[in-house]
């Protein structure tokens, strides 16, 4: 049985805003439309479709194509000029942010007000109230007037109400882009649940991946007419072909083919994203690191295979791809289970939804993988408060000169280059040199200004900037500087550099092993406890050129365990 039926629906708008509604035109209108010269614009023309009960219909199209007009007609805020619309049951939707909210009322009052608009009584709304508040995660703000809410909070409240009242027909108009990543994820899950529960839904979006995920049927609207209407897979394929011109096979296939491919002897059985604490996650903030962990299973010895992961934005943009072929070379696979991990980050990605595809292939056979999971994992990038806008996070530094000085700060007090501005901006302060450095005990206390954590390799730090400084106090009886250091485990060459004390070069050093060795430097004796600024200057400056995406900055710099004066 159909839940919604549009029969030859057309909607016309009159574009008269520029002239305004003058007395004269009103008089004319009163005597019929004779002499009126009004430009007409057909928002929808002869649109017919049927949504069966329990079906989810996606509506895609560019901005201004008429997508939202369909929902407005369905929610009865607009009336068509021609054609017939039939519905079975109650209709409610999230047409826009805060539809039907009053800014001066509190969250609680708005929940009940919104309920009344849906014909849901006060009592029934009271029953749904706890569920709404819980889903929206707004307990603390529920008695605050919602004019103080952020747009994300508006959306959360609206979405929670729409979901809780369980209308027979749910309308969703691309609102999920708002709000933080965690909540977006929650919304997506809730919508997937709506689809699973076989409730009728109309979903308007210009994000083909989301439409495909939530919808059985899709309508593609262009200039007010139905360009294509049918199963989601076919329509979206057509849509992408037209909007992208000749689509590269890769993107095209990624969006339209089945999510799984290949029945080779090796299979990915589990894949998770882990946050910096090792907990499973689906979201991250720019500058944070996630670890992709893949568990595979095979029945026989396979020789050398390559594991690869590709990251795509939700609109299909191929953001990055990497594989084990780049670093360690092929991996040989033994029968049984195995784990592959890839550390991604600091992530330079802007806010939005991303998908990770995973594949295993034999060397040289990338195009015919043994096993392929397309868009297997979702990663939602959030937006830090006051943080980045745009698609990418570019490491940057601001310098501001006072107007009267007329120049930027001189080199001495200019901002020092940081090895990793993305992560340092969110973690430890880096501007003051540490008092001493004994990384066995103080490794968490000081990082930055050339210092860098050693991945998977405590207890030590690495120093990868051109110059790093430590402030130590030399007592009267002591006169030897000891630096316990070695080359990073992943580097394949010796590390060389100079040691300076209070800016004066004292000696050169060179470490080649991966076991810590002491660099011993005699110091001039002192008469009273003296503060010394010990500097380490790299022979060759290694700057992690691919800040962010390349996980292997591990081979850069010098690993240091301790700096002390004996």
């Amino acid at each position: 049985m159909p839940a919604v039926r549009f029969t030859g629906v057309s909607k016309r708008f009159e574009l008269t805003h520029s002239r305004g509604r003058s007395m004269f035109s009103l008089l004319l209108a009163a005597f019929g439309n004779a002499g009126m010269d009004v430009e007409q614009f057909w928002a929808l023309q002869d649109v017919s479709f049927t949504v069966e009960q329990g079906e989810t219909l996606g509506i895609i199209g560019r901005n201004g194509s008429g997508k939202s007009t369909i929902l407005k007609l369905l929610s009865r805020t607009l009336r068509p000029d021609e054609g017939k619309i039939e519905v079975a049951g109650s209709v409610f939707g999230l047409l826009e942010l805060g539809a039907g909210f009053h800014p001066d009322l509190t969250g609680r009052e708005n929940i009940f007000l919104n309920g009344s608009f849906l014909g849901v009584g006060h009592k029934e709304m009271g029953r749904l109230y706890p569920e709404i508040v819980e889903f929206s995660e707004l307990e603390r703000f529920i008695d605050t007037p919602i004019k103080h809410y952020s747009s994300g909070m508006y959306m959360r409240l609206g979405f929670s109400i729409a979901l809780a009242v369980k209308p027979d027909i749910l309308l969703i108009d691309e609102v999920l882009a708002v709000g933080d990543a965690a909540f977006a994820r929650k919304c997506y899950d809730a919508l997937a649940e709506v689809k699973r529960a076989k409730r009728t839904m109309l979903f308007v979006s210009h994000d083909p991946i989301q439409v495909r995920r939530f919808c059985n049927q899709v309508i593609w609207i262009e200039e007010g007419r139905i360009r294509s209407y049918g199963p989601a897979r076919d329509v979206i394929q057509e849509y992408l072909q037209s909007t992208r011109g000749p689509v590269t096979t890769d993107v095209h296939r990624a969006l339209t083919d089945p999510a799984e491919e290949g029945d080779g002897p090796v299979k990915i059985v589990q894949s998770v994203l882990l946050d910096e604490n090792g907990a499973e996650t689906h979201s991250a903030l720019p500058g944070k690191t996630v670890t992709l962990r893949v568990r595979y299973e095979t029945e026989r010895y396979l020789g050398d295979v390559i594991f690869g992961a590709a990251l795509r934005r939700s609109d299909g943009l191929h953001v990055y791809e990497t594989s084990t072929a780049e670093r360690q070379g092929p991996v040989s696979v033994q029968p049984g289970f195995g784990l592959v991990e890839c550390r991604l980050g600091p992530l330079p990605l802007g806010p939005g939804a991303y998908h990770i595809s995973l594949a295993i292939w034999r060397e040289g056979e990338r195009m015919s993988p043994l096993h392929l999971l397309r868009n297997d994992l979702a990663l939602f990038m959030g937006k830090p408060r006051g943080g980045h806008r745009g698609t990418t996070v570019i490491p940057h530094q601001w310098r501001v000169a006072a107007a009267d000085s007329g120049a930027l700060p001189s080199v001495d007090n200019a901002i020092k280059p940081q090895p990793d501005m993305i992560s340092s901006s969110m973690s430890v302060p880096w501007s003051t040199p540490p008092e001493g450095l004994n990384m066995g005990r103080r490794e968490e206390e000081y990082l930055g200004d050339g210092w860098h954590p050693v991945e998977n390799w405590p207890p030590a730090v690495r120093w990868i900037g051109r110059e790093a400084r430590v402030v130590l106090t030399q007592d009267v009886a002591r006169g030897t500087l000891v630096i316990s250091a070695c080359r990073p485990m992943h580097a394949d060459r010796p590390v060389q550099g100079k040691v300076t004390v209070n800016g004066e070069e004292i000696t050169n050093f060179r470490v080649s092993g991966i076991d810590f060795e002491d660099i011993v430097i005699p110091l001039d004796p002192v008469n009273e406890p003296t503060r010394l600024e010990i500097g380490l200057v790299m022979e060759a400056t290694f700057v992690p050129a691919t800040v962010g995406i390349d996980p292997d900055t591990r081979e850069l710099g010098l690993a240091i365990r301790e700096i002390r004066i004996e």
Binding site: P2, S75, R76, E86, V87, E96, F117
Partner: protein, 279 residues
């Protein structure tokens, strides 16, 4: 399945009944909107709801100052006389002014949610009515407290209030609809309300107006016949303090009120589908 787009086939009485049923089915919403309106009216003000009593009181004080002290009017019991007429005027004026913007200022709702659009002006009028009734009850209580003689005709008071409500609601719906298409109205209404206030015997009695003839009828008749508020204000006073209800004038006003209400509702029904496109 139900068709949500075509106009109802019903004509005449059954159409009216259908419209009533629809509004009735949204009565919960209407109630919520009235409460919302009342809540918002005095939110963030220290005295809150008290203002609905205080502002007519202060206005009365001003009038007393002007007319009693400066012009030596000889109306007996002038404060009662004033309050009895001023309260319904404040209610009616508030309904018109509030109704005027009730649609245009709620674009947020009109564009996004469906409900019978009549509810917008109606909720404003009803919220004002609630305040009005409370204020009037207090007025009567004060009269009793000061042992001012009241008459049995006070039983007609609720009927007159109801008549006033129908009249105000009709007017509010008319101006609300017209203002959507013709924004110039808000400026006209401003002036119109001022003129109307002076043409209504609120702070004076008709007796002080020189009764000259104008177009074959005397001025008193013109004012009374064409101005339902004049009748209403007089009605309120008469049933309170004179023990008399001018039936004939009231009947004319009733007809006018019903006509306005019908016209307002008709305009709403007829044109509300276009509100979302314009607002």
């Amino acid at each position: 399945m139900r068709v949500i787009t075509e106009k109802s086939e019903a004509r005449g009485l059954s159409a009216i009944a259908g419209a009533f049923r629809e509004v009735a089915s949204f009565s919960e919403l209407l109630r919520t909107m009235v409460i919302r309106d009342l809540k918002l009216r005095y939110r963030n003000s220290v005295l809150g709801f008290l203002w609905s009593l205080l502002s007519p009181l202060l206005m009365t004080l001003v009038f007393i100052l002007v007319f009693k002290v400066l012009t030596q009017t000889d109306i007996t019991n002038y404060p009662v006389f004033l309050m009895a007429g001023l309260l319904p005027w404040i209610f009616t004026q508030g309904s018109v002014a509030g109704g005027l913007h009730s649609v245009t200022s709620n674009a947020n709702l009109i564009n996004k949610v469906y409900f019978p659009r009549e509810l917008l002006p109606l909720s404003v009028v009803l919220a004002g009515f609630v305040q009005f009734v409370i204020a009037y009850i207090l007025l009567v209580a004060v009269l009793l407290a000061f042992r001012i003689e009241l008459h049995a005709t006070i039983v007609f008071l609720p009927l007159i209030m109801l008549l006033n409500l129908v009249f105000a609601a009709g007017l509010a719906m008319v101006v609300a609809t017209v203002n959507v298409f013709f924004r110039d109205l808000q400026h006209l209404v401003e002036i119109g309300l001022l003129a109307w206030f002076f043409l209504t015997p609120i702070f004076y009695t008709l007796a002080i107006v020189p009764n000259t003839s104008f177009l074959g009828l005397d001025v008193h008749r013109w004012v009374f016949s064409l101005n339902p508020m004049a009748t209403l204000v007089t009605d309120y006073r008469y049933v309170l303090t004179e023990g008399y209800l001018p039936i004939r004038h009231t009947a004319v006003t009733l007809v006018m009120a019903l006509f306005l209400f019908g016209l307002g509702w008709y305009l709403m029904r007829r044109y509300s589908y276009r509100f979302a496109e314009i607002v």
